[in-house]
């Protein structure tokens, strides 16, 4: 990106001026940022993900099981929807994840473009299939609930349509990524597409506010008193947290795979390969 090029040029020029005018000073990074630079290096992140991913999977899986048990068995049936309301324990977390993951993908896109960080590219590429799956899950569960409640699997209203567009955007990122041969070019093209597609995220989120939508407004993510009773709410919160952790696990593992694939000719990957080889 041109901004980066000019920033680099500026930095070189500044360094040049400093070197001319002053005696060289020992270079020191500000302490608070060293962790950031270290984190961005593939082997460090790989090791960190290796340690974090099992915890995310364990806690996420346990929370999800707890949420499903609480939601499907313990929570009382709704006075109006009876047992059909229980789909929210899958639908709401999936829908929340579909938006959060897109947001994370766009942030990775910004980081990848501005700082040219290889790791951000890998995370971006890793998020897309996970986000697409959650979006598809949100759409399917919503449709299954819509048939008995609204009398139709699908209505063309703002929330549903914009969520469908979100799915297309995820699929577009996946398709664009697989169309390029060079993974770095592919990831940066995906980053640009993800950033442009980001305009859809506020549209999805606020669609129930801006338009007169058939889809109900937000029940739980509301400041103050939520519109849901506590014995129905806690499995939902557990499900939300569990889904976040579970998708963090999925993204970490996918990022690890992407890193291994891209860095397959480096020493640290060879060392890992040698260490994990059967019989080693």
């Amino acid at each position: 990106m041109f901004a980066v090029v000019s920033a680099d040029a500026l930095r070189i020029r500044l360094q040049h001026d400093v070197l001319k005018s002053q005696p060289p000073r020992p270079q020191r990074l500000p302490m608070s940022w060293t962790w950031f630079h270290r984190l961005a290096s593939p082997p460090t992140f790989f090791g960190l993900a290796q340690r974090l991913a099992p915890w995310c999977a364990g806690f996420g899986g346990a929370l999800l099981l707890l949420a499903w048990f609480g939601g499907l068995v313990l929570a009382p049936a709704d006075y109006q929807q009876k047992d059909a309301f229980r789909i929210i324990y899958v639908h709401v977390p999936a829908a929340a994840l579909s938006l959060s993951l897109y947001m994370a993908m766009a942030v990775c896109g910004v980081v990848a473009l501005i700082w040219r960080m290889k790791l951000a590219e890998c995370v971006l590429v890793a998020i897309a299939p996970v986000g697409a799956s959650f979006t598809a899950l949100a759409l399917v569960t919503g449709m299954l609930w819509g048939k008995p409640m609204w009398g139709a699997y699908w209505v063309w209203d703002a929330r549903l349509t914009s969520e469908l567009v979100l799915l297309f955007l995820y699929l577009g990122v996946i398709g664009l990524n697989s169309a390029f041969e060079d993974p770095r070019t592919a990831a940066r093209a995906c980053a640009l597409l993800a950033i442009v597609g980001f305009v859809n995220v506020p549209i999805v989120h606020y669609s129930v506010v801006w338009w007169n939508s058939l889809h109900q407004g937000s029940t739980i993510l509301k400041l103050g008193k939520p519109n849901i009773s506590a014995d129905m709410a806690w499995p939902l919160y557990a499900g939300l947290l569990g889904s976040y952790l579970w998708s963090a696990h999925a993204v970490l593992r996918r990022t690890q795979n992407e890193l291994l694939l891209r860095e397959r000719n480096t020493r640290w990957v060879r060392e890992i390969a040698a260490a994990t080889e059967p019989g080693a």
């Binding site: 664009l176 640009l192 442009v196």
Partner: protein
Amino acid sequence: MSALRALFARELRLAARAKTEWLMPPLFFVIVVTVFSFGAKPNDPQLASFAPAILWVGALLAALLSLERLYRADQEDGTLEQLIVSETSLSFAVFVKSLSHWLLSGLPLVLLAAPLGGMLGLPSALFGPLVLGLALGTPCLSFIGGFVAALTVGLPRGGALLPVLVLPLIVPIVIFGAGAVRAAQQGLDVSGPLFFLAALLMLTLTVLPWLSAAALRNAFE
């Protein structure tokens, strides 16, 4: 500035010498709309209520038709590389290219919309919101499509990927564009959707040339 003017003149001259370039999209538009009315039963009064959607989708497909060529020819003969390494701002060059794309393949559609709308049985009172909406919406199509064309410029199968990437991005434009006509059909105020379209147009005009330039640089690195 003179370089941009030269680029603009070059685009128009190229189009003038290859008549299919600028004759095809409007012809395609007319054919798509006509096929729709063949598909319905003769003199179906329902057709008028679908006219906004038919006209907008027709305009969209016609714009897509020529988008792939936006950078492809320039890439093949090396002009695009010259543009990227030249001193002229690539963002402005992209702006000029997208603008000339709109002049050649968007503006004719805007002018054709009213007669075609009449053919579909749209009352003439609705021509205003239809044409105004298309006048605001088709430049968005050219700029968003230009961005995606820049993303896919180096790809061997970019032609198949392009519509898949463009269509989700232009859904809001179709919603508000066709929405303006539908609002007018129901006797509601049309200014809301039109203002939304105008805002989207401003957003695409100001942001997308920069992102398109970044995409082109990325493709040539």
